[in-house]
Structures are given as C-alpha cells and as structure tokens.
C-alpha cells in the first residue's frame, strides 16, 4: 500500500468538510427559496431562537438548546454502544417512550421525598428502556428478526401503549396527557435564568465519559468492536456474541429510558403522546455523522439541538414549517456520507495501480 502524505490527507479532509457543508447549505437555501422564503431570514431567526442574537447570550433561550441536547445526547451515547456492536437500534424511540412510561408509573404511584423519588423514577425508566431494548435484542438473537424491523414495530407498540395509558387508566379529563406530576416528582431547573436540570446534565456527562472509556479501554469494548465488525469471527475468537449483543441493546435501552424520563420529569412534567418526538431517530443521524469518533457526538448533537430549537422561531416569525430542521439535518448527513465516498474514490484513483481494493467488505444485509 502506498501511503499518502499527511498534508495531502489533510487537504482532502478540508475539501470534504467544506464541500459537504457548502453543498448542504446551498441545497437547504434552494429549498427555502422554493417555498418563497429568504435563506438569510431563516438563518437569522434560527440564531435568534437559539438565544445567540445580538452578540450576547440569552440564557433562558439558550437553556432550551441544552434541554433538548440532554436527552439527545443520552440517546447518542447509547447508540454509540449499539453501533459499535453493529446493531441498528432504531428501536431507541420506543425505548425512550417505555422509559417515560415507567417513570410516570413511579411518579404517580409512589409517594416519597424528592431525593428518593426522583432517583427511583429514573431507575424505573432505565429498567423500562432496558427491557424494551432487550426485547428487540432477544427478537434478533433468538428469533432472527432484524433489529430494524423489530425496532420499528416496538416503537409503534410503545407509542400505542402510551396513548392507551394517557387516554385510559392514567388519563385526566382531556385525554391528551396524564395529570401533572407533583412537584417532588420532578427534576428542577438550576435557576430561573439557567433553566437546565443539573442532575440531568451531570448524568449525561457521566454516562458519556463512562461509555466512551468503556468502549475504548475495556476488553468488553473491544469485544463489542469485534462483534460489530464480524459477528461470526468474534464468536470463533471466543467473544460471547449473543450476550454482548443483548447487553449492548440493554445499555442503549437503559440510556434511552433515562432520556425518556427526562422528557416527562423535566421537559413536560407529565406523560404525553409520542413523548420521544423523534429524538431517537435524530440520535441515529448524529451517530451516522460522527461514526465511531465518539468525541464529536456531543458537538454534533449540540448543533442539531440548536437547529431544532431555532426552528420554533421560524414558525413564529416566518411561518415556515418546523420540518425544515429535519431537512437541514438530513441533507447534511446525506451529503457528508456521499462526500466521504467521493473522496475515498478520488484517493483510490490516485493510487490506482497499487490499489488492491478500496472495496469495503459488504456489511451485513438488512435482512437477516
């Protein structure tokens, strides 16, 4: 194999990054023009909605970004585990919902002082999410149902169950949400300015650090990596593949469950229909963008959160549909994936004579 010079490599890297973002911004701008709006206004309003307009930080508004980032980041952390293990855990949405449901159950049924109740709620949420993740895992390892399909089905089942609880046994008159939780059942914001739950923030930090260290430094992390790259070979090298796959699903579910609990214990203060709101899917996009470079996940997740929160402002000020946020994110990830392929191809062409293979080994097909 011929080796590229470091500067050349860096040059390509810059090209890919700048190119991806330029193309993504251009495409987005075209779409905005297509619905008769001004791209400049759109970016202005997003910026304003995030609380960064006028050169100073609007803390309450900025808190909104952090508050969305927290559950998103928990989900991303969990997804790092399943992605490392080669599992497409798009059931993470349902795992969030189950976490929210379990937390709600404790919040409604258990009467304890806040210092005991909140941890209990979160533990219940972690359990709920983990069980739901495990179920998808068991369907895959024992039943041969690919986790993408098991996940989609379980997502919908969790949502249906949630709506049933809200409109039935746990409902109040309206049927649109459960009654609000008591004050002591809630996670509270740090201050009236910085409206972020410190407990949740610390939790995200700890979860992320622990997971990244475990994936990088432990034997278990290496086992997961081997499992993700080739399940069959990992098994033959002595990795307990089924146990690890299940464990990965459970851990991801556990973190997603906690994310779900933050949605009900902090964001809303009660259980609502479709409480996961697509955060899980967004997490999948984040992890697709960062790949295994886990350290970038918090930053990318932060930008995604900022775009989302800023999009609310778009609707109020410009009457643009909130789906624009998803469009921007989707285009960015897609363009980036394609750009990666293009640069790999260019590189392969340059070293063509010796190139034994730029071929990527076929990944496991979606149908097991």
């Amino acid at each position: 194999m011929t080796r590229e010079s470091i500067p050349a490599r860096r040059l390509i890297g810059i090209g890919v990054a700048v190119g991806s973002i330029a193309v993504a911004l251009l495409l987005t701008a075209l779409l905005i023009v297509a619905v008769n709006a001004s791209p400049r206004d759109v970016f202005d309003k997003i910026w304003e909605g995030v609380g960064l307009a006028g050169g100073r930080l609007d803390m309450p508004r900025f808190s909104g970004v952090i508050n969305f980032w927290i559950p998103l980041m928990l989900v991303c952390t969990g997804l790092l585990v399943t992605f490392t293990a080669g599992l497409w855990n798009i059931g993470v949405e349902g795992q969030m919902v189950m976490g929210a449901i379990f937390a709600t159950w404790v919040a409604q049924e258990v009467s304890l002082p806040s210092v005991l109740l909140v941890p209990l709620e979160m533990a219940a949420a972690a359990l709920g999410g983990a069980l739901w993740g495990l179920l998808a895992g068991v369907l895959k390892t024992r039943g041969g149902v690919h986790e993408i399909f098991g996940g989609v089905a379980l997502n919908n089942l969790a949502n249906i169950f949630g709506i049933y609880l809200i409109s039935g046994p746990w409902g109040n008159q309206g049927g649109q949400a459960t009654p609000p939780f008591r004050e002591e059942a809630l996670l509270l914001p740090a201050s009236s300015e910085f409206r972020v739950s410190l407990v949740a923030l610390v939790m995200v930090g700890v979860a992320f650090v622990v997971v990244v260290m475990a994936l990088r430094g432990t034997h278990w992390g290496l086992e997961l990596k081997a499992l993700g790259k080739s399940a069959r070979s990992a098994l033959l090298l002595g990795v307990p593949t089924q146990r690890n796959a299940l464990l990965a699903m459970a851990i991801c579910g556990l973190l997603a469950g906690i994310a779900g609990s933050i949605r009900v214990l902090f964001t809303y203060g009660n259980l609502r229909p479709l409480v996961s709101g697509g955060i899980g899917f967004l997490g999948v996009l984040v992890v697709l963008l960062t790949g295994t470079r886990a350290l970038w996940a918090p930053i990318v997740a932060f930008f995604f959160a900022a775009i989302m929160v800023g999009s609310t402002r778009l609707n109020i000020a410009l009457q643009l549909d909130q789906s624009l946020a998803g469009v921007v994110q989707g285009i960015l990830v897609l363009v980036f994936i394609l750009a990666n392929g293009i640069s790999a191809r260019l590189r392969a062409r340059r070293q063509a004579p010796a190139a034994e293979a730029a071929s990527i080994p076929p990944k496991e097909a979606a149908h097991g």
Binding site: F149, I160, I337, I360, K363
Partner: protein, 349 residues
C-alpha cells in the same frame, strides 16, 4: 354476502399501495439492492404527486412526478453503493428521514385540498358479477394496474431471459458477469424500476386510495410494513402480494372487532405491529424449530402449517416429500432465503 364483498373490495383497495411498493422493493432487492428508504420515499412521492396533480390538474402528471421521485431516491442509493461504496442501509436510513421531512416541508402549503384523483372504472360486465364484482372489478385504474403488475412481475421474473438476468445479478453477480450481464447496469435499471414503483405506491395513496395530502401524512409507517412484507413473502412477487392482502385484511378485521366485542382499542391499534413481529419471527430460520420444541406434540401440525410460509427448518416442509415439477414449483415458492448478494457490491476482480 354483499357486505363481505364490499369489505373485501376495500381490503383490495387498501392493500394496493402496499402491493405496489412491496413488489417494487422485491424487484430492487432481487438485484441485490436494499432500498430501506421506503417509508420516506412513499411519503415524498405522495406529496409530489399530489402537488403536481393539483397544480397541473392532471392526475397522470402527478403520477409521473411521484414515480420520478421514487426512482431518483432509489438511484441515489445505488450510486452511493456502487460508485461510492457506502453502506446501503445507512444511506437508506438517512433518506427515510430526509424524504419524510422534505415532504412535510415542501408540502406545507398544500395540505387538505381537494385535487384530481383517479376515478373508479368498473370493468364492463365483470363489475356486475354478484360477489366478485365489488370485490375485484369495481375499482380505480391503479388497482387494476397492481393486478397486472403482479402477474407481469412474476412472468418476467420466472419466464423470461430478463428475469434470469435479474435473479442472477442478485443471487450471484460473478455468474451474471460471466454470462454477459452488466451487473451494475442491471442494478441501476431494476433499482430505478423498483423505486419508480415505490413512487407509484406513494402516488396511489394521494391520488386514489387515501386521496389528498395531509400532515401528518396518512401513509407514514406503511413503508416499513412493505419492507417487512417483502421478507415475509420470501422475495417472491406472488407471495409478497399475498402478504400485503393478508395484512390489509387483518387490519380491517381488527377494527371490525372493536365494533363487535369489548376488545380494548389499544390492542386493535397494536395489531399491525404485532403481526409484523410475528410474521418475521415465523419466516426466520430457527424460529420454526424453536416453536416446535415448545409445542405439544398434538399441536405440531399447526406449526408445520405455519412453516409452509416460512423457512425449511430441520423439520422439512411438504415440499421435500412432493416429487418432480410440483416440488420444484413449491420449493421456489416457499423459499425464504434472501437473494445471495443482497446489500453487497460487485467488482470485477
């Protein structure tokens, strides 16, 4: 009887987009390409079809726009896979999300408006036949097209040279190459065709079966069901279509249950998804053996019956005991193995 005939007619109509989409995906996967983006593609195609039909006043123009959208998305996946060597599942997933959001964004000013639709065209004479009339022959043209599509796909796949090339490319590209088939070109061609059919499925929602465009889109989720049906149908167009009809039928059955019994609403809504998991469990290898182990001896014929739609487990299906031509036909019909080269890329050396 008349009521049943009408309900079955509605089942056929409701199943039509699923039939078209899952046959489209069957074609795509049969050449070895996974188009995971169905749920988004169908939505985007439905939106574009409606908007174009609405703006031009022509349902046919809308239909073409939808097919074009589905085709372009499918081509994007194939380009990313063949030319850029990116994972089909990853690209497909991103496109699922992106297309759905794009549909909502671009369609935001076109929701809930009356637009052109494909009218019902009763088949002369046949529509008057007592039971079958309402059931099969009193529909719009897209539904008749789905019947035709089903037959044509089967015929092309199993009775023509095109079909041989199609299947060979997805099963063993090296062979296809050796026999003079251009593997990548074939993949482009049929993935585009499959994508166009997926787009057609979207159009058939917004121009016929569930006319109009709305937010949230009425067809959300059906793309995933179509993907599952392809697996359930073992990549055989006839079985796939059968799966789509079965699915639509059970969905209607579930809601009639709500009217007649005290069956909780929540369980009715859960039916499609429970069904999806169960059917996938059923066709996955090992599941049959596993079920057998836990089934009392006297009830094992049930599992065997189920296995007819599933895989050849250690307990052989009826196919192995049937000799000759029938056996071959049955076995081709019942095999549930995915195409050998599904999701992989082919290069010459």
């Amino acid at each position: 009887m008349d009521e049943l005939s009408r309900i079955l007619g509605s089942v056929v109509a409701n199943a039509t987009p699923l039939v078209i989409a899952s046959i489209g995906e069957t074609i795509t996967e049969r050449v070895g390409v996974i188009n995971l983006s169905l749920d988004g593609s169908i939505t985007l195609a439905a939106m574009l079809s409606f908007v174009v039909a609405y703006s031009t006043g022509s349902a046919a123009a809308g239909l073409l726009a939808g097919m074009l959208a589905g085709m372009l998305i499918a081509l994007l996946i194939v380009v990313a896979s063949i030319e850029l060597r990116q994972d089909q599942v990853a690209v497909g997933f991103v496109l699922t999300m992106l297309a759905a959001d794009l549909a909502q964004f671009l369609g935001q000013n076109y929701t809930r408006r009356p637009g052109p639709t494909f009218p019902t065209v009763p088949v002369p004479l046949l529509a008057e036949v007592p039971f079958l009339g309402n059931f099969l022959f009193n529909h719009n043209i897209l539904i008749y097209f789905s019947f035709l599509l089903l037959f044509a796909t089967w015929y092309v796949m199993y009775r023509t040279r095109w079909g041989l090339a199609l299947r060979a490319v997805g099963e063993r590209p090296a062979t296809a190459f050796a026999r003079g088939t251009n593997v990548n070109r074939t993949r482009y061609l049929y993935a585009a065709l499959g994508g166009a059919l997926v787009g057609l499925a979207g159009a058939s929602y917004s121009l016929a079966i569930k006319a109009g465009w709305a937010n949230p889109p009425v067809m959300r989720g059906d793309g995933w069901i179509a993907l599952a049906i392809v697996i359930f149908g073992g990549w055989h167009p006839v079985r796939v279509a059968f799966g789509a009809y079965l699915f639509a039928g059970l969905r209607i059955l579930a809601s009639t249950i709500q009217q007649t019994t005290d069956f909780p609403l929540v369980l009715v809504n859960a039916v499609p998804w429970v069904l999806m998991i169960l059917t996938l469990l059923m066709v996955s290898s090992g599941a049959v053996d596993w079920l057998m182990r836990f089934t009392p001896r006297r009830l094992r014929w049930v599992v065997r019956l189920l296995a007819l739609f599933g895989v050849r487990g250690q307990e052989e299906t009826a196919a192995s005991r049937t000799p000759g031509r029938l056996r071959r036909v049955l076995r081709n019909f019942l095999r549930s193995d995915p195409p050998g080269a599904l999701g992989s890329t082919f290069s010459r050396e």
